[in-house]
Symmetry: C2
């Protein structure tokens, strides 16, 4: 394991880690004595989709570890078609890094993976940030075919990051301006880029969303077994994974605080990066077994 | 207007202010150069129901002003049967104090009064904290007859503050323990007490709740005219005014953040007083026009 940390996801070199039969691409940002923060990425997102305005401040006092799950970016293998399969890769990656316990920031799909990790190996996680995500059995999870999303995803005039601006941010001038600033920050990284995800990645991850929408026991009851201190964060106007899913999370997780932001959608953590990183740092700084911070 | 401030609601003297035809009982705690914080009280609550663990830390850097609305405690007059009537008294009181603009902490019924003040005289309020409250047209507001509340309110073995412990806190050992600590803090004030509210106060305030449950225009549309930066706070298991009302507040107020606490009910601000006062202070310290803090 090599340790190379830099201050920003704009410049952090991409590293490769071989664990068992897999190779994972990852980056490390910041450093310090606090618990490392593993960041689990959204639908089709790669290492390059992590906003430096979020990752870099969180690297003050701890290592922030970004990673490409199997089949994403420069990681080997196939994209699993279940969240459980993705959680197994995240745990395999942590084993390869010799990280026995970390904090986790799970955004969107990544938040589902974080919940599954907490269930499958509770000791692997100390504290969780679940942003713009949903519990198993949640509702209206990433239905890209619905008109409010399809009109942007199917617009040939929108390319690359421009689509993200539309679907991650609310349709107000203020939120769209924040979205514009977000894609400018992403575009600042120009070297050592991940390949963008293609249709096969999207198809496998959509299959995982559909499986995650199914309840496998009494609806939401698995959440009651997750006792980790958790901070749930969402934009009130999230079209990709509606905020009602965050309500269900905090109503059923026994130890979770909800922070919901106005005038924002799926990308609330990017829109309000100053506020979000301040709250996240305060939440992660706590050593109590309780979520309120 | 006399200015007498002390560091705690356990010892702050009760003062009287004559404005127009009314006399209002009030207390001032703390002091400093920040905007004063007007605290608007819950159903049947008097000055003595404000938890010093909440009021006192908030007095660091600002005056915290507690006040009895008309017909409560030692204030003269009749309890209005509408929230609008209560808002008029709060504005009259501020006029008497020569406070042209303040921050407001509205808890439960007090949060409804705060919303009405923001609509009736927007300039009177800079930032609002709305805790355990509901918008006009909200649902299941203070239905004391429902079994989950009636079993405590009708229990002859529960007297005085013991009832508050049951109905303000969740039915878990941890929340009830926090409730026990809360009533011990209230009981530390032994002199210069307000008379407790009787059945006439309760009846008038219940009438106000019933009126507030009625929509007077398109449901929740009045909220879109309240642009004040607002922090909405609720316990997830609030039986008195369910958390769904806080969801509706932040979904319709254009500039409101939601903070929801686990393992707690109506009195989440008292249960998590350290966290709540830290968040409130951070929110109130902001000079931006935006709620995220």
């Amino acid at each position: 394991m090599s340790i190379v940390t830099t201050a920003s996801n704009t410049t952090a070199p991409t590293q490769l880690l071989r664990v068992k039969d897999h190779t994972y691409a990852y980056r490390r940002i910041g450093g310090g004595f606090r618990r490392p923060l593993l960041c689990l990425q959204h639908f089709t997102g790669t290492l390059d989709n992590w906003d430096p305005a979020v990752t870099d401040p969180l690297g003050d006092g701890r290592e922030v570890i970004l990673f490409d799950s199997a089949g994403i970016g420069r990681s080997s293998g196939e994209v699993p078609t279940t969240v459980a399969g993705m959680a197994a890769h995240a745990l395999n990656f942590l084993d390869g890094l010799c990280v026995t316990s970390c904090d986790v920031l799970g955004f969107s799909l990544g938040g589902m993976v974080a919940q599954q990790m907490a269930l499958d190996r509770p000791s692997s996680i100390r504290r969780m940030l679940l942003v713009g995500t949903a519990p198993r059995g949640g509702e209206d999870i990433m239905h890209l075919e619905k008109p409010s999303l399809a009109r942007y995803l199917g617009d040939p005039a929108l390319k690359g990051y421009s689509v993200l601006q539309r679907i991650f941010f609310a349709p107000t001038a203020s939120s769209q301006a924040a979205g514009g600033a977000f894609i400018e920050r992403l575009a600042q990284r120009t070297d050592d880029l991940d390949p963008a995800s293609g249709p096969a990645v999207a198809a496998a991850q959509i299959a995982a969303f559909r499986e995650w929408e199914q309840s496998t026991e009494d609806r939401f009851s698995a959440l009651k077994r997750i006792h980790h201190p958790t901070l749930v964060v969402n934009g009130i106007h999230d079209e990709m994974i509606p905020v009602s899913n965050s309500y269900r999370l905090v109503e059923n997780l026994p130890n979770a605080v909800l922070l919901a932001y106005p005038d924002s959608g799926h990308g609330s953590l990017f829109q309000f990066h100053d506020s979000f990183t301040r709250h996240a740092a305060a939440f992660l700084a706590s050593d109590t077994p309780f979520a309120p911070y």
